[in-house]
Amino acid sequence: MRRVYLDNSATTPVDPRVVEAMMPYLFERFGNPSSVHFYGQEARSAVDRARREVAALVGARAGEVVFLSGGTEANNLAIRGVCEQQRERGRHIITTAIEHSSVRAICDALERRGWEVTRLPVYEDGIVRLEDVRAALRDDTVLVSVMLANNEIGTIQPVADIGALVRERRAAGQKHLWLHTDAVQAIGRMRTDVEELGCDLMSMSAHKLYAPKGAGALYVRRGTRLAPQNVGGHQERERRGGTEAVPLLVAFGEAARLARLELDERIEHLRHLRDRFEAGVADSVSDIVFNGDRVRRLPNISNISFRYIEGEGLLINLDMQGVAVSTGSACSSGSLEPSPVIRALGRDDELARGSIRFSLGRDTTDEEVAYVLEALPRAVENLRRLSPLYQKAQAERACAPV
């Protein structure tokens, strides 16, 4: 069957150039970086090189990059690490209603253990307001965690403005206030610079960047102290124990290097295809709503709510035509909740349940988009024919005075 992968925000295929860079570290260069001998030192310098590349992608110093197993671990280390370290200074965290489930889960866990959590709203555009952050800040706030780009609708949050605000507060004496941003979806898809953002901590994940699953990183600004979570061994300057996943880190480094060099062309390619896709959908499918600000968003995500039908059915119908997409509930299968992100935009339950994320990648072609533009109206039509909501609306339309 013809297959088109439009779920690049869930994970990406590995770039062959990345695999090539990684291969020697599976075979002859297999040493443990903690070993003093030749094999160990060879592995050590490969990890150092990868660290410089990841740092370079986000404008950080190599010593500020802590390698981890993925984005979820990065969020855990950042949020729990700061909160445990600062527990004597304050127990208030500010975050948003549209964070990734990992950030949500960590904040929920801290809340159960006595921290207070303020979850800022977003508005119809899917963007947090600086004034809301300002109003939520308290003297005992130790952490603000606001994602850089949302994983479901792609909206870009005003992290740089929040960074300026946090610095202002710090200059005014609130020394123990830190800013974390989850940039898992952002890196490689938009310019991301820790100095411009003014963040103290930033989460990254390799598998959204055309590198294999199993590697991630946390940027930790010099001077930011964290309680380590995974301990044992002296790796990562005592900030994360465990033998480094050398081949994965080499892959991550190479993927970061390629993303840095090719960023502009990737963005242009993605935006061009995404815009074509959205124009095509608007032309061929009725009763849809585009979710999230149309401008301040990642170039690769298009999130659309289809009235009268439900996302998972549409997903499966598309899958049966070879098209891979996701819905807001894909990450939390088992729950019957409509997507909390789409709900946060103020949409009703039906629109929240009928939302689909199409996420393009560097490998997506014009031709693939054209294929999806054929498959999608068919799938929507299929489901609407079954839908009592649609039938009722049609009947009402037919009866309505012109």
């Binding site: 009268y308 039908i309 439900e310 998972e312 059915g313 499966i316 119908n317 049966m320 299968s333 088992g334 019957l336 339950d349 039906e350 349940r353 299929n382 489901l383 024919r385 079954l386 839908s387 009592p388 909501l389 039938q391």
Partner: protein, 120 residues
């Protein structure tokens, strides 16, 4: 796939989708927890279900259960129809994950309701 091939076939090629203009028994039920809806319309002649149509909104199991139920009903006596169980519907789909069993419950409930509403 978490769903069987049989299941997916019901989704791609629903059996008996729609409404009957000359239905003798109609019901529309919804699951108050998740908002899923199932509408069933039956033509009943001589104590037998002559035709069954369904409409459904909600997660794929609800759609598939509606389709499987409508398919099973054709030709049954009203008495037989009354005795259809959740397990039979689930079986007709090649199984359902345990957290999706509620879809079969909604189907059975809608069927019972329709039979209760039968025009005599």
């Amino acid at each position: 796939m978490p769903y069987s091939e049989l299941f997916k076939d019901h989704l791609a090629n629903p059996r008996n989708a729609g409404e009957l203009a000359d239905a003798d028994a109609v019901a529309e039920q919804s699951n108050p927890v998740c908002g899923d809806r199932l509408k069933l319309s039956l033509r009943i002649r001589g104590g037998r279900v002559e035709a069954a149509r369904f409409l459904a909104y909600g997660c794929p199991p609800t759609l598939a259960c509606g389709s499987a139920l409508a398919e099973m009903l054709g030709g049954l006596t009203v008495e037989e129809a009354r005795q259809i169980t959740r397990a039979e519907i689930v079986g007709a789909l090649g199984g359902l994950p345990s957290r999706k069993q509620h879809a079969a419950a909604l189907a059975v409930e809608t069927l019972r309701e329709a039979l209760k509403n039968q025009r005599h």
